[in-house]
Symmetry: C2
Subunit: 160 residues, 2 copies
DNA sequence: AATATAAATTTCAAGCTTGAAATTGTTTTG
DNA sequence: CAAAACAATTTCAAGCTTGAAATTTATATT
């Protein structure tokens, strides 16, 4: 019979390889995210959550209900409440009553918000270009395809 | 001469492909991270930051200075202060004075912390196995290799 | 219509995170 | 050795994040 296997056996190795991949994946995305946060803060006095909300509102000029916004961004309702509050204080967003339903409100960018986001988005794209410069175009598409195969429990409102 | 290029031209496409990769990368790691946080909370009444600190201390039975801990985890000093405070309140970690230097302290796991982390780590590895089940072993190694090529500004204390 | 159920949002407490300021202790240097 | 420079840590305010509870409004059921 086959002996009990050690860590280097074919049975144990895949688990370690997956763990290694996860740590690398996490480290890479956390590293990029940290750099984006730093640049948003230092160069534009804003934050990633604010950028994300503005980005979602930018794609929906008609506005998004608070609940749609939180589903789209996959964060809690209470979370977007606070972020939209602060964007509103800064004149970048506003809340509009929904005609048929007095419970609901739609968040929209103000003209100032639209202009500000245009600036941020251009910078953001350039930053990503720079931060992913290490990968050949071929590798870019290769990795994107591989990532498609990982499907962590990600139900509803999937806007890839 | 060549005309001005549109978005689908060879010059514009790579930038969009990189942006797409970044969004996918972020979404994938955020999805896995959210699931890990949920399981740590629901099944073990703990958090990812606590797990990370315990993991670092577990690899260093002799303890780590607060500053070493924050460098290793790439978070601020003030951050680890709070997490170690809470682990200490729960009897999972403790601070030990450093002989030569009265400013410094070393954080260590208590025996209860060691035991608790053993449980958590086993679960964690199984979860990663499950969450990355969509990828063949071949793809695992392929993606790990590709991730190596992305190097976001990541100086000092690099413990991959 | 009165009641119950459901839905949209906000409020809240607790923890995480950061960068800057404050503390305390060490080392260097004039 | 006193002063200045440096180092390790904690404290702090502000923002992010969550899940649960509370509000307010809408819809469905008796």
């Amino acid at each position: 019979m086959s002996q009990a296997k050690l860590d280097h056996s074919p049975e144990a190795a895949p688990s370690k390889a997956r763990l290694r991949l996860w740590l690398k994946l996490l480290k890479t995305s956390a590293g990029i995210e940290t750099e984006l946060r730093r640049r948003l803060r230092d160069q534009h006095a804003t934050t990633l959550p604010r950028f994300d909300v503005m980005s979602a509102l930018s794609r929906n000029p008609g506005g998004l209900k608070m609940s749609q916004l939180s589903q789209f961004l996959r964060v809690s309702n209470g979370n977007v409440t606070g972020i939209v509050d602060r964007l509103t204080e800064d004149g970048l967003a506003l809340r509009v009553a929904v005609p048929g339903d007095r419970r609901a409100q739609v968040a929209r960018l103000t003209p100032a918000g639209v202009a500000e986001f245009a600036r941020l988005a251009a910078e953001h794209e350039a930053w990503i270009d720079e931060l992913l410069a290490g990968l050949a175009l071929e590798d870019i598409n290769e990795m994107t395809a591989l990532l498609e195969q990982i499907q962590p429990a990600a139900p509803a409102g999937d806007a890839t």
